[in-house]
Amino acid sequence: MRRLSAVVAVCILLVATGVAQAASAQDPGGLDGRVVDSDGLPLQAVSLLVFEIDAENPIRTVSTDQAGYFRVEPLEVGRYRLEFLRLGYYPVEREVEIEAGARIRVDVELRARAITLEGIRVEGERDRTRVRFLEEAGVTTREITADQLRLLPGLAESDPVRAIEFLPGVVAPTDFSASFNVRGGSADQNLILLDGFPLFNPFHLGGVFSVFNADLVERVELSSGGFPAEFGGRVSSVLQVESNPGPGEFRVDGGVSLLAARAAVSGGLSDGIQDHLGLRDGRYRVAARRSYVDQLLRPVATVPYAITDLQGIFRGWGEGGSRWTVTAYSGRDVLDLGRIDADDFPLRVDLDWGNQLLGAGWFRPLEGGANLEGRVGITRFSTGLRFPDFDDSRFESRIRQITLSGSGQLPVGGAWTLKSGGSAEHFRWGNLAETGGTTFADDVGGGWNTAAFAQATWRRPGAWIIEPGLRVEGWSGDDGARVVEPSPRFSVKRFFAGGEAALKASVGRYVQFLHSVRDEELPLGIDLWVTAGEDISHVVSDQAQLGIEAFPGQGWLVALDGYYRKFDGVVTTNLASNPNDPADDLLSGRGRSFGVDLFVERTVGRVDGSLSVSWLKADRTFPDFISGREDRPEITFSPIFDRRLDADLVLRFPLPRDWEGGMRWHVGSGIPYTRPLAAYAPFGPRQTKNGSLRWLGLEGPSADDDAAVAILLGPRNAERYPVYQRLDVSARKDYHREWGRISPYVDILNVYNRSNVLFYFYDFRADPPQRTGLSMFPFLPTLGVEVRF
């Protein structure tokens, strides 16, 4: 608590200093305007660099919004040179004169370049990072572009969620799951958004792959801390996957990997349809992906598993600059073991799961840099496990969320911008497990999560950004639970070294009314969701972070963040719950984490890449139901994602014969596990045999079966697996042909075949006692090919 108080004190001091400086400033001016292409369509993400007339380094960098608008304010009176840059377009320069108290308008048209130059691409990426640095106060966001994604070594094919594992503060406890933890938060505290709409379990094969088709991804952004008031829903991180609607002309992107075959078709609306809809332009992209091994091997073998993804994005621009977006996704995993001969595989189950999402967004720019934005969408997840031989057994889980949100941004004069909005989200979930005529769980629930926020941003270019905000979260559960949680946020950034470096600090409270009851210690699994209620606590997390960011040279970024987080109301499944008491199925606990994240990135030169180093300490405290004691004494332990030291080196480099290479070397200290101290023979009573006890080893398929062993555990998660290491490499080449492009690629995971421990098995029946184990991915080469025409 004292650490938090110290951070708050620093923030107050910084604000006080900033306000004092602001009071002595002259009356400034400003500029705004819009950037369009030669068709008059708005261009988003155009970087505008503002230079003092004879200077070499820009004093401000901003980026155009979704409708092509930009605004630079305040600017001191004087003459400035403006430079507009965007990938694939010729740069444009303008000179302007800023007068006291006046805002001038600058509209620019960019012409497309016939050939995309590498230098422009690099400059464009650098400027996006720089825009964040100059415009955002406290939030820590890292971005991975589609180009970077393709050169990150992956399992079978590029995976936008897997890709973020190399970012600082992110821990992926096992190779077998794309599930991740950020800065000591639980996996269910990550909000995963596709074009702004949440997906609950965006993974295939129990977590091995994410559902996102890399062909449709424009960029992936992970915000890991310092969130302003507009962020809500989860307390640990926000992962935004943004779709690319394509160039507006017919194009096909396809690929075949060892996992699946996929194709994406993009195009534009005809003039007639555009006129009918009142649009100036409309672009769409639809994609399908399916695993094919089951079909390929059908004549010779039954493969019981298949995945399917369908995804689409439409984006249209209205005459007035409005932008409409429609996003849709549907995916399903089917594992039907009932199709296999029971003699070959007696475990006859039919399991499926998947997500569906439909969302629409609207963005409307207004005069003077103001804008309005709205979203409506529905997302749902469901899974079912059935047993073809036994009708009385089934397991089902589902959750649905309907979202309605809106926000508006308004420059209110001087250096202030105000943003406010609200959202209403309705949740409905159900979890059912029954077999043999008994019901283990049949729970349903839901409720309304409503929120309103207001945040103000005060900018003094090159000197200060101050961003106070307040978010008020309300929860109204179907079971009558009512919660209102004010969540204040405050961020401040102080620039120095001529605007090339900044110190930032943020504090805030974050609230979450949703939990997954999945045991994170299982390396695979599907999140099963429940919402807060009378018997289920909600999470309140107080967080503080202090960081420094600097651009020490052309194309270099260095960022160092320290953070402290406190989590109240986290839950764990009570595996010793009283079946007569539905209120004790979940036990409420608390947690905390603190750590330091270092990120060094180079975005220019023949070899670029990044280095991430994270140090983390996390713990969780829960009632110890395993103790068996009625009073359930508390136990504090390191959760599985408490990887103390984590380092990732990612490089992209040219290879001979025009191949491009990528590598990722990941080293992490061991994650915790609970060591068995001894084993014993388990018995069960037989009531039809006068209460005699029967060795359970006789019940399994063989006496060596694990069911024949019960164990005594040492302290919870007190031991650690050995250091994790893995070197992955990739190589790809683009062959350009008249009809399009073909790109073969090879990925090799775990190049030096390091045996990273997934589990240890202790066998105390052996003499002497032995420990064996199961490793994660071994040396694993995969290949594939992508085409575009």
Partner: protein, 309 residues
């Protein structure tokens, strides 16, 4: 098998994981395991205890251990050592040297439905474990009405078994012992590995007081070698004249339920939630049983299970 373990198993089968080499580890800790079951079987009190040690540890003998129970009054019930056959059904693991004890004498009457009893285990070296168990209250089987007597169960029929609630029960574990299935299924080419067949059912919570026999029995064996038998039993027992058996509905309290259902996941084995605490671990379990017998295709003087008369 829980759904999550099933998922884990399925996925691990499909994934490219590798074995990690064998390493010798330190000797396991030596700990006493005490399993004390107090039960009331169709009104008759009883107690059985199995005392053993962790595998591979220094086998300090547990002979001479004293196990006692005590209610709210001064009377103390004591367990006496018996032959292993008196406690154990079936084979034992190799190199396994437990001792069996049984509650003896008039003090058995301490074990009554609803009673709260303190269970203590004291070893000759002075190690001590202690726990408390509250027996489930008594209950009655209401269908078939003939319970605890015999009834006639028509072949290829499913019998809904119903009973009254047992206060304090966390679960009911109905157990069926069926004789004659090996011969009865031989004509259908279904192999029955053992005869009699013992199958467990499960009704979770005090208020879940029904189960269908035989279709809902055997839920812990559905993915083992008995799968084919259990599939065949979904429609009822086979039409053979020599199939009979007994069904025991066992009301189990907190300690018994926790010990038998296990706790958190660990890849090295089952984790059990104890109710005996001290220098060792174990369970002080309480169960109350009610039962009935059945015969398939019985002669006319045996009342029908479904009708009860």
């Amino acid at each position: 098998m829980s759904a999550r373990r099933l998922l884990l198993m399925l996925a691990l089968v499909a994934l490219p994981a590798c074995d990690i080499g064998q390493v010798t580890v330190a000797e396991p800790v030596s700990s006493v395991i005490a399993e004390v079951y107090l039960r009331v079987d169709d009104g008759i009190p009883d107690g059985v205890a199995l005392l053993h040690r962790t595998t591979g540890s220094d086998q300090i003998p547990v002979q001479g251990a004293v196990i006692e129970i005590q209610g709210e009054g001064p009377q103390v019930g004591r367990f006496a050592e018996q032959s292993l056959e008196d406690c154990i059904d079936g084979e034992l693991p190799l190199d396994f040297e437990p001792i069996c004890l049984r509650l003896v004498g008039p003090s058995r009457s301490l074990v009554q439905p609803g009673a709260t009893l303190t269970v203590s285990v004291e070893l000759p070296e002075g190690q001590r474990l202690e726990g408390v168990v509250t027996m489930p209250s008594d209950f009655e089987i209401v269908k078939p009405l003939t319970a605890p007597g015999l009834c006639n169960l028509p072949p290829r029929s499913v019998l809904p078994v119903m009973w009254t609630q047992s206060e304090g029960a966390w679960a009911y574990v109905p157990e069926a012992e069926i004789n004659g299935l090996r011969d009865a299924f031989a004509e259908q080419g279904i192999e029955v590995q053992s005869d009699p067949v013992t199958l467990l059912g499960l009704s979770v919570s005090q208020s879940d007081t029904t189960i269908a026999f035989p279709s809902e029995f055997g839920i812990f064996n559905r993915f083992s070698g008995d799968r084919e038998v259990l599939v065949a039993l979904q429609g009822g027992l086979p039409p053979a004249s020599d199939v009979d058996g007994r069904v025991v509905v066992s009301a189990q309290e907190r300690n018994a339920t926790n010990w038998n259902r296990g706790g958190i996941f660990n890849p090295s084995g089952q984790v059990r939630v104890p109710s005996l605490f001290g220098e060792g671990t174990g369970v002080a379990a309480g169960v109350v049983n009610r039962s009935f017998g059945f015969v398939v295709n019985a002669s006319g003087d045996v009342p029908d299970c479904a009708g009860g008369g």
